[in-house]
């Protein structure tokens, strides 16, 4: 056994060093801006239990069970190591001093759990070689950690094997006994003693070394991910904050100082599991964006610039466009479709997408630096209040043959047609289908017609917050003036913007997606269908802004089932795992020059199911699917919005 005095000195030195390292790192969070993540403590505790201690997202992937086992084993071994340290300081402190009926199960559990850890570590090491979680996952960092943990367990078994074999300790520890029997059978206490001391020190040094390695490695997540989950966001749509437009304000994120402390904590919490990049539509179509890399670059940038910035210095390493580690390129920033898949899978609730959009804000607002095709878009939205730049007087052309009522105080619902429904020739048919459905259900509704204005979704996702701010204010003011209380949308982008973003502008009316509304009409029996529509085999594509951003998954499916009499078949990726069509985040209006096309990737996935019809619930998805099917020479497969399917099933008049 060690000299308690010597160990005490080593321990104090190691702990002081660890605290110094951890404090130094965590104090870098103060470079970030303040953000209130301290509300709703009960919900935070609940989610911490479910996602941190229950590892709910970790085990969504089969291999996550390995991590779950390790996590809980570590918690148990924290007790074992507590005893180890105390016993090193004072040999009298030991579970041995407890009655056998108590200490026997304790040592048995420690012994078995240590074996579990060793096996998990071996499996993890093999997995990284055989089937790495993402390309490039074979990092030295990962192996150093796995090696340290394995060494700790081996030292543990040898230490206790020696104690058991030499009779220094009597306990029910089958694994340690087996090690003792194998290597140290019949050893005398005198001969065992120096070996025990050696293994004891191996264990102690690896343990303290591990502790001090943590703050400098990706395994800092052991310290940061539980708080990161505790401080997670509850707003599922991840609505970006409003900006104030005063002359000395900063716009968007240019350096790590423009991020919030929580953004920076995110960067410390990444374990480089790679799940985000394996679901990212940009990354999977060979674009330069990799959400894991974005978070990593923020961390590297913070480590590089943070200490000097805390003293008031300007950052040396540019966060945007600098090239190399610690910098994010503009191509990465513009590749994001804001689909939210990265955030949906992150086991520790890192918020990748909002950071990317915040960087866009800086590029657009402070530097007017953006892909050239967006110039027209911004001017169209600003001057004509629609992305296409068509004259606002054409807003009612879709219903020129119908008798659609202008919205007034007698109308219960405003049907907010949206720019796609009003201006895009294919999507006008969805607006028509909606009008038929609303009339058939006897709903009191109207439209704003030529007075309707664009919601500004694309402006906000593309970082043109100044423009969005004006559009949102104008819309909310108009609705207040008109007495709008309930809004039905047919576009998930309008829907999410009105429902989530416009709350920031004081709009408190009810906003309902056409998926929800039609599903409810059918359930309530308000809308009666005459016949089942035969569209053959149908597969349904989840829109990101309906599904992941607003948790609406079942309603569009139930609408399809009700109208066709058969359930849609699911694509390989569906519901919250759904794969973006490529048009979100303003990408609808941009050229896709890097990598392969996102919509083709999704269209091919749909075609794997051999459908006759692809159903969508979003005008952008409609465009992307129609284009993609043409590119694949599969125009025989129809694309239908759920409203069109229902309209076909309406009784003939």
């Amino acid at each position: 056994m060690p000299n308690p005095m010597v160990f005490a000195l080593v321990l104090v030195a190691a702990v002081v060093l660890f605290i110094w390292s951890a404090v130094r790192r965590f104090s870098l969070l103060r470079v970030g801006r303040p953000e209130d993540r301290f509300n709703d403590i009960p919900a935070r505790i609940r989610d911490t239990l479910v996602y941190a201690f229950g590892q709910k997202r970790v085990v969504r992937k089969a291999f996550g069970f390995n991590h779950l086992l390790l996590f809980w084993s570590f918690l148990i071994l924290l007790i074992a190591n507590g005893e180890f340290i105390l016993k090193g300081l004072n040999p009298a402190i030991s579970f041995m001093s407890l009655p056998a009926v108590v200490h026997n199960p304790i040592y048995l559990i420690f012994d078995l759990v240590s074996l579990i850890v060793l096996l998990c570590v071996i499996i993890a090491a093999i997995r990284r070689i055989v089937k790495p979680p993402f390309p490039g996952a074979l990092t030295a960092d990962a192996y150093v950690i796995l090696g340290m943990v394995a060494a700790l367990m081996i030292a543990y078994f040898n230490l206790h094997g020696l104690e058991l074999a030499s009779g220094e300790m009597i306990a029910l520890m089958p694994i340690s006994s087996a090690v003792g029997g194998l290597f140290y059978s019949g050893i005398t206490p005198v001969a065992a003693h120096p070996l025990i001391t050696i293994w004891w020190w191996v264990h102690a040094i690896v343990l303290l070394g591990f502790l001090n390695y943590l703050p400098y490695s990706k395994h800092m997540h052991i310290l940061s991910s539980i708080p990161n989950i505790y401080f997670k966001r509850f707003d599922h749509a991840n609505t970006l904050p409003r900006e104030t437009f005063v002359s000395d304000a900063r716009f968007g994120v240019e350096s790590v100082a423009d991020l919030t402390w929580k953004d920076l904590l995110d960067s410390f919490s990444c374990t480089e599991c790679g799940r985000c990049q394996m679901v990212c539509p940009a990354n999977l179509t060979d674009k330069p964006l990799n959400p894991r890399q974005v978070i990593h670059d923020i961390k590297i940038n913070l480590l590089e610039n943070g200490p000097a910035m805390r003293k008031g210095a300007e950052p040396k390493l540019a966060l945007i466009g600098g090239g190399g580690e610690g910098s994010i390129t503009e191509d990465q920033v513009w590749s994001c479709t804001s689909c939210g898949a990265c955030m949906e899978v992150c086991p520790v609730f890192i918020e990748q997408m909002p950071k990317i959009l915040q960087i866009r804000r800086n590029l657009v607002e402070a530097k007017a630096d953006f892909p050239e095709e967006l110039l027209n878009l911004f001017e169209n939205m600003e001057q004509r209040s629609n992305p296409w730049g068509i004259a606002p007087s054409d807003r009612t052309k879709w219903c020129s043959l119908l008798d659609v009522k202008p919205f007034d105080e007698d109308c219960e619902y405003l049907f907010y047609v949206g720019c796609a429904g009003a201006f895009d020739s294919r999507n006008k048919q969805i607006a028509l289908a909606m009008a038929m459905i609303l009339d058939a259900a006897g709903i009191s509704w109207g439209i704003l017609g030529k007075e309707e204005m664009c919601c500004g979704d694309s402006a906000r996702r593309l970082g043109n917050e100044y423009l969005f701010d004006q559009m949102a204010q104008a819309n909310v003011e108009l609705w207040e003036q008109k007495g709008v209380k309930k809004i039905i949308t047919m576009c998930p982008h309008c829907f999410s913007t009105l429902k989530n973003d416009y709350r920031q502008y004081g709009f408190n009316g009810e906003v309902i997606s056409h998926s929800e509304f039609i599903a409810e009409l059918l359930t309530a029996g308000t809308l009666k269908l005459a016949e089942k529509v035969d569209l053959g085999k149908i597969t349904f594509h989840d829109s990101c802004y309906l599904g992941r951003h607003n948790d609406i998954y079942e309603q569009p499916r139930s609408v399809i089932s009700a109208a066709t009499g058969r359930d849609p078949v699911e694509m390989k990726r569906n519901h919250s795992d759904s794969f973006c069509c490529g048009a979100g985040g303003g990408r609808m209006w941009m050229e896709e020059q890097l990598g392969t096309r996102i919509n083709l990737e999704r269209v091919r996935e749909a075609l794997d199911e051999d459908p006759d019809t692809v159903c969508v619930a979003c005008p952008y998805c409609m465009t992307m699917f129609e284009d993609g099917l043409k590119d694949e020479h599969r125009e025989m497969v129809n694309v239908r919005d759920i409203a069109e399917v229902v309209a076909m099933a309406l009784p003939r008049q």
Binding site: S247, A366, F370, Q383, R384
Partner: protein, 270 residues
């Protein structure tokens, strides 16, 4: 050194119609924009500012609400904006308009050495392309119209070399400064205002000059000074085109016909 960019606020003509009775544009409820050709004129002036540090002054003649358009020019980076606004200027044709603009430019040239005046080649509401050259004559500047590139600007030796985009050819011309150029869309890509610039522009005053300060002869300006009378505005009738080939039954042959046609019209070079 001074560069003046002339801009006009026009109705967004994609949204206007012509009143068949009065032969004028129906402007009611139609949003106003900066004449698209003038956005290129301003951009070119701003590029000269970036490259040579010249002072850029934007001048516009119009009603008081044209201040919005001038503020946009300020948000893009113009140093000063001057609105020439007076009831006496109203109803002006291109000649009377160019007299007022010319007078303003002369006044500006008294305080600072004028290098260049830049105008859009025409406006989208009037489409005459006369105001630019009209200013040049009134101020006595060399008029260089339809410029699609400033090849060289030598402020020390007071010379400018430009490329003029004419029908099916380009003309490279050199002239003495001060000169006036009118620009086509191909010359540049206008920039987008940053938010700090927009905010700053909101606090920058737009100077308003009326005829009291400019002192022009009232018979030379406005409706009185305008010899032009518009008798009729109409959309020209188009001769119907011809349908060539049979795309449904012979897509390859029809495509070839189209290519041949384009080549014969010199619209396509193989």
């Amino acid at each position: 050194m001074l560069v003046v960019a002339c801009v006009k606020q026009v109705p967004d003509t994609t949204q206007v119609s012509i009143d068949p009775v009065t032969n004028t544009l129906v402007r009611e409820g139609i949003p106003n924009i900066m004449n698209p050709f003038d956005t290129h004129a301003l951009e070119e002036a701003l590029r000269l500012k970036d490259a040579y540090g010249v002072r850029v002054v934007v001048v516009s003649m119009g009603p008081p609400n044209a201040e919005v358009t001038l503020r946009k020019a300020l948000s893009l980076g113009a140093d000063e904006a001057i609105l020439l606004s007076d009831r006496a200027f109203g109803g002006a044709d291109t000649l009377a308009t160019s007299r007022v603009l010319a007078e303003a430019i002369k006044k500006l040239a008294e305080e600072d050495e004028l290098a260049l005046v830049i105008c859009g080649k025409q406006t989208i509401d009037g489409d005459t392309a006369q105001v630019g050259p009209g200013i040049a004559v009134n101020v006595d500047l060399v008029p260089l119209t339809l410029v699609d590139k400033i090849i060289d600007l030598d402020l020390d030796n007071k010379s400018i070399t430009v490329s003029r985009k004419l029908e099916r050819r380009h003309e490279i011309v050199q002239a003495q400064l001060p000169a006036l150029i009118t620009v086509v869309r191909e010359i540049n890509r206008p920039r987008y205002p940053t938010v700090p610039m927009r905010l700053k522009a909101q606090e920058t005053p737009v100077e308003i000059w009326n005829n009291e300060s400019m002192g022009l002869d009232v018979n030379q300006i406005g409706l009185k000074g305008s010899p032009t009378a518009v008798r009729k505005i109409f959309s020209p009738e188009r001769e119907p085109g011809e349908i060539i080939g049979d795309g449904t039954n012979d897509p390859v042959g029809t495509a070839q016909l189209l290519v041949d046609k384009l080549v014969s019209k010199e619209l396509l070079h193989l």
